[in-house]
């Protein structure tokens, strides 16, 4: 039996406040943790079947028509089985939820670095050597690679306008008109993209590192021309995704094609350098932000004009303005987003697409305007919280920004902060503090899950992936709580398209979407138990394997009887988001030290206070926020994928030269959650937490740099040379 739910309005009950079993919303370790730290959790590249061959992708050194100059010579090399140069190979990775093949055809290279061939050999060493020997000729085709020089067509521009923005800018007591830039970013997941493809009787089994299997199955099937029903995709463990594994990429398609041609399994693992250029990057952005405020520090005009890039034909444009539509009240607004066509590697979703860079730069602008208004930055934001969605006539489903700002500033000790810049010095180091708000739209996606209850315990099955976020933990807790079992009697099985399709991991939707599907499946089982007990589901209490109804109490095993009980949950988003604006909120606070000699910045403290509905597991939620804050440090200070100015290729494509923050760059991080229930978020009142802490944390650091030493950095990252340019 399937328990269906469409979220069209607020839920009427909060059964999880009752906590019979008492495992939900509690700290819980990851059931997969011991497997991972002891190396027993097998990742995609580790399911090496007997007789597997090894493939290595080869890139195009230029843009244009592709020719393999010495294919026969390479095919004759020791151990080489084939050089695949097949027009079904993909140029770009599929965008998230594409559900169909991305652009195919490797006779043409659209960008420098595009994979154009796969060399397959008996051993990985033979394959990589032969791949290095394959001479690819591609070039001759010119195209814009520099931001501001690409083509922008009318359909690539979207504008929304409210009131009279220009008049507000003319008449504002204080105004700001500033342009900010962010560079390309990469997901840089620790596990490289990898695939093992095996065909049997016309059916493909693909072990791969992917985030959203139900879409990925259709994408790979479309690429290789088979019915999706004949494709099984497995990804029970994924070593980080951050958006780069939302859609299938070159290695999976090439592995599937080569395995079919050769009649044996083929493994393809992207090299680290390929990971940096083959999978979608976050586009660089240029953001012109214009703000006007009245004498009381209330915004009268809000303008955000963003430019991002992608390859021709790619629909995705970094949704920079996503939160600007609702973050602050202002009667006169102009939001404009443009996508230009640049021949750099394709761009797509990277951790918190949109808000990661949009909120961050907007929060720098808010800091600048607060200063010119002479108002404390926390107070400035409090004054501009909208009552309702400022562009659509709908209320917020819940809105706890004020609570986050107030509690966060109290926890950080914000009140002690001197208002002026350059007030505190320790030796050569300027010390300062800064803050920024956090916004991230909340989404639910369709999800299904199956739960089986037997005397042995509970089994949960869905094709949902755990890309390191803690999905195994949370789904275990939900099932344990709903069905009254200790967590060690609940087994969660993920990452297999033979299971019911979950939401997939992406956009912070996993816990609330697939979690709700599990919740619904358990509800269906609870109903069956209640029926057997002769009571209503709402009156049933399940705890420690016992079912209690009024004064009747039975072992659940007794109630089940002969066969296991099975429930199927199916969540659909419904019309809720047409009726309300739904978001998560937060406040970031940072303390930095800036060297007056070198312009080096060291983050001394970084704190976040967040509201994201019911927190299902504080430990995994906090861990997500630690990751996001670290992204914030990287965005503010170190991360930039550099593109060669002549041909757009990614220059610094390894971990030595693409500077992620290392342990020494990350101070103690302080994360706090504000208690919140959002009844529009489903029966658990839980919202996504994964990406919220990236959305603005970098701005708190940039604002703290300004407070410390008076230097305002508008082009990220704030590397020593950029800070020094302001100090000198």
């Amino acid at each position: 039996m399937t328990e269906e739910l469409k979220i069209d309005g607020p839920t009427q009950a909060r059964p999880e406040d009752a906590h019979a079993q008492g495992v939900l919303s509690r700290e819980a370790a990851r059931p997969d943790g011991p497997l991972k730290v002891s190396g027993r959790a097998a990742y995609a590249a580790e399911y090496l079947p007997e007789g597997a061959a090894h493939g290595v992708l080869v890139r195009a050194p230029g843009r244009g028509k592709v020719r393999l100059a010495n294919r026969a010579e390479v095919e004759a090399m020791q151990g080489v089985l084939c050089v695949l140069h097949d027009d079904r190979m993909v140029r770009n990775a599929a965008q998230g939820t594409a559900n169909e093949a991305p652009v195919q055809g490797v006779e043409w290279a659209e960008y420098v670095g595009q994979p154009v061939a796969l060399v397959v050999a008996e051993t990985p060493e033979q394959a990589s050597h032969a791949a290095a020997r394959l001479r690819v000729e591609a070039g001759g085709s010119k195209g814009a690679v520099t931001p501001g020089e690409g083509e922008v067509t009318d359909e690539d521009v979207t504008t929304s306008e409210t009131g009279d923005f220009e008049a507000a800018m003319r008449e504002g007591a204080q105004t700001l008109d500033a342009t900010y830039t962010t560079p390309s970013h990469v997901s840089a997941a620790m596990e490289p993209h990898a695939a093992i493809a095996e065909w049997k009787d016309g059916c493909l089994t693909l072990h791969s590192a992917l985030q959203m299997l139900k879409f990925n199955r259709n994408e790979i099937a479309d690429c290789v021309g088979v019915d999706p029903g004949n494709v099984r995709v497995l990804a029970p463990y994924v070593g980080g995704g951050f958006g780069s594994k939302l859609g299938i990429s070159a290695e999976a398609v090439a592995a599937a094609l080569a395995a079919r041609d050769l009649g044996r399994p083929v493994r393809v693992v992207q090299t680290r350098r390929q990971v940096f250029e083959v999978n979608t990057r976050r586009s660089e952005t240029r953001q012109r932000i214009r703000l006007a405020a009245d004498r009381d520090g209330r915004l009268t005009g809000l303008g955000h004009d963003a430019l991002a890039s992608n390859l021709p034909g790619e629909d995705f444009a970094e949704p920079v303005l996503q939160a600007s539509h609702f973050s602050y009240a202002a009667p006169n607004r102009r939001l404009r987003q443009s996508a230009e066509r640049l021949f750099r590697p394709a761009s797509g979703s990277v951790r918190a697409p949109g808000e990661a860079v949009g909120v961050t730069m907007f929060e720098i602008a808010m800091d600048e305007l607060a200063e010119s208004c002479g108002i404390d930055p926390v107070e400035f934001r409090l004054r501009n919280i909208p009552e309702t969605d400022p562009e659509r006539d709908v209320p917020f489903s819940s809105h706890m920004l004020a609570e986050c700002l107030t509690e966060g500033s109290h926890r950080f000790g914000w009140a002690d902060r001197p208002a002026a810049t350059r007030q505190r010095q320790e030796g050569e180091w300027w010390i300062g503090t800064g803050m920024a708000a956090a916004f991230r739209v909340n989404l639910l996606m369709e999800a299904e899950a199956r739960v089986r209850l037997s005397p042995e315990g509970v089994v949960v099955e869905t094709d949902m992936t755990d890309i390191g976020t803690g999905t195994y933990s949370i789904l275990t807790q939900i099932a344990a709580e709903r069905l009254g079992h200790p967590p060690d009697r609940c087994e969660v099985r993920l990452g297999d398209t033979d299971f019911p399709p979950g939401s997939g991991a992406g956009g912070s939707v996993g816990a609330a979407s697939t979690g709700t599907a599990v919740w619904l499946a358990c509800t269906e089982i609870r109903r069956q138990l209640a029926e057997a007990m002769g009571c209503s589901e709402a009156d049933l209490t399940l705890k420690d394997g016992r079912a209690t109804c009024g004064n009747r109490s039975l072992d659940i095993a007794e109630v089940i009887g002969d066969g296991p009980l099975e429930g199927h949950g199916h969540l659909q988003p419904g019309k809720a988001l047409k009726k309300v604006r739904q978001s998560t909120f937060g406040a970031h606070f940072a303390e930095v030290a800036v060297s007056d000699v070198t312009g080096e910045v060291r983050v001394r403290r970084l704190a976040g206070t967040y509201a994201a509905g019911r927190i299902l597991n504080p430990r995994t939620a906090r861990s997500q926020c630690h990751g996001g804050l670290t992204w914030g440090i990287g965005m503010a200070l170190t991360e930039a994928l550099e593109h060669d100015r002549r041909d757009g290729h990614a220059v610094n494509r390894d971990f030595a030269e693409y500077h992620l923050p290392v342990n020494a760059d990350v101070p103690d991080l302080d994360v706090e959650f504000v208690e919140e229930r959002d009844d529009w978020a489903g029966p658990m009142q839980a919202k996504g937490i994964g990406e919220l802490s990236i959305c603005g944390s970098g701005a708190a650091i940039i604002n703290a740099i300004h407070h410390a030493c008076g230097v305002r950095v508008r082009d990220l990252p704030a590397t020593p040379d950029r800070v020094l340019a302001g100090l000198a």
Binding site: P61, E125, T598, T638, R646, A656, E657, H659, A664, P720
Partner: protein, 324 residues
């Protein structure tokens, strides 16, 4: 990676003989060579493992310290004699790479590590150092970790070592041995070549010649500082680094040895900077002058222009600290 032969000799002469060909290379820690071989930037057909030659000792002698070529960076940094007598070396070592790399990387290998120029690592681009005569993609490309001192129209690749910078300030010399068993000592100032028209030739090592040890004379100054500026707090190459070995006498600078990382095509030392400082009373004007002298021949590009002001500021800060 191109297939290669590996020998693991236990005698020095055998090691030099094994490696006495165009296409042979010594390998110790392999922290740089293996990376380059994977990318086929380096394609030796023969590797000689020198880890069994007993070159891993540190000894004191009448002149100072003799450091075996395969002493790891971690062991060298932790050696109490180094920490007491040559602390600038210990600090420079610990400012470099990561703990894992320092555990493998060796003294001789560190001196010979290749540049981090991204175009050198990318076999699809032009690089005179990797493929002589092919051109230099960095000159009009993305520059950041590139040199501004000692460059040529053919190459602006930076020498990335921290350790070697401290060794230059300490007047280190290298002990070399060839296939005939001939041994010679070369001061670091004469060990490296400027790129000129042949950036592929980085040192004066002869074919088959192996670094067997580094000699450090007793330090010329009791005040020793290593300061490194970088994009992140650990595991990043220097934007600018300064090693200072200095002695004060009666309020004047009696001995000054300044060496620089992040600026030069080789670990950089400029005798004119040292000469300018020696005998003088420390002052801001003197430090400014030192910066001017250091940068007098700097050749900057768009991406490296910041190194001139940054280098001067760090030099001044180090001189202030070390003369205080």
């Amino acid at each position: 990676m191109r297939p290669f032969d590996l020998t693991r000799p236990e005698e020095l002469s055998a090691a030099c003989r094994d490696t006495n060909g165009e296409n042979a290379a010594f390998i110790a820690g392999g922290t740089n060579l293996i990376d380059l071989m994977k990318l086929e930037v380096e394609t030796p057909g023969h590797l000689t493992d020198i880890s069994r030659l007993g070159l891993d000792g540190i000894e004191t002698d009448a002149q100072g310290l003799r450091i075996g070529a395969t002493v790891t960076n971690s062991d060298l940094a932790a050696d109490t004699r180094v920490r007491e007598g040559w602390p600038v070396l210990s600090r420079a070592l610990l400012a470099g790479a990561s703990g894992q790399l320092r555990n493998k990387a060796t003294t001789g290998g560190n001196l010979l590590q290749r540049t981090r120029c991204p175009y050198f690592y990318d076999t699809d681009t032009a690089c005179n150092k990797r493929a002589p005569g092919s051109g230099c993609a960095a000159l009009k490309g993305e520059q950041r970790n590139h040199a501004i001192l000692g460059t040529s129209d053919h190459c602006i690749a930076l020498h990335p070592s921290d350790m070697a910078v401290a060794m230059r300030a300490l007047d280190a010399s290298v002990e070399l041995c060839d296939a005939e068993g001939e041994s010679r000592r070369v001061g670091l100032e004469k060990f490296y070549r400027l790129p000129g028209k042949t950036p592929e030739r980085e040192t004066h090592l002869r074919p088959g010649e192996l670094i067997t040890a580094v000699h450090l004379p007793k330090a010329g100054g009791d005040r020793q500082v290593y300061r490194k500026v970088r994009d992140r707090a650990s595991y990043a190459f220097a934007l600018v680094s300064v090693a200072a070995v200095l002695r004060m006498k009666g309020g004047r600078i009696a001995h000054a040895a300044l060496a620089f990382g992040g600026l030069g095509t080789q670990p950089w030392r400029d005798p004119e900077v040292d000469a300018l400082l020696e005998g003088e009373t420390p002052s801001q004007a003197l430090f400014d002058k030192a910066g001017e002298v250091l940068m007098r021949d700097a050749v900057v590009h768009e991406g490296t222009a910041f190194k001139v002001p940054l280098g001067k500021r760090v030099l001044t800060a180090v001189l202030k600290e070390v003369t205080a």
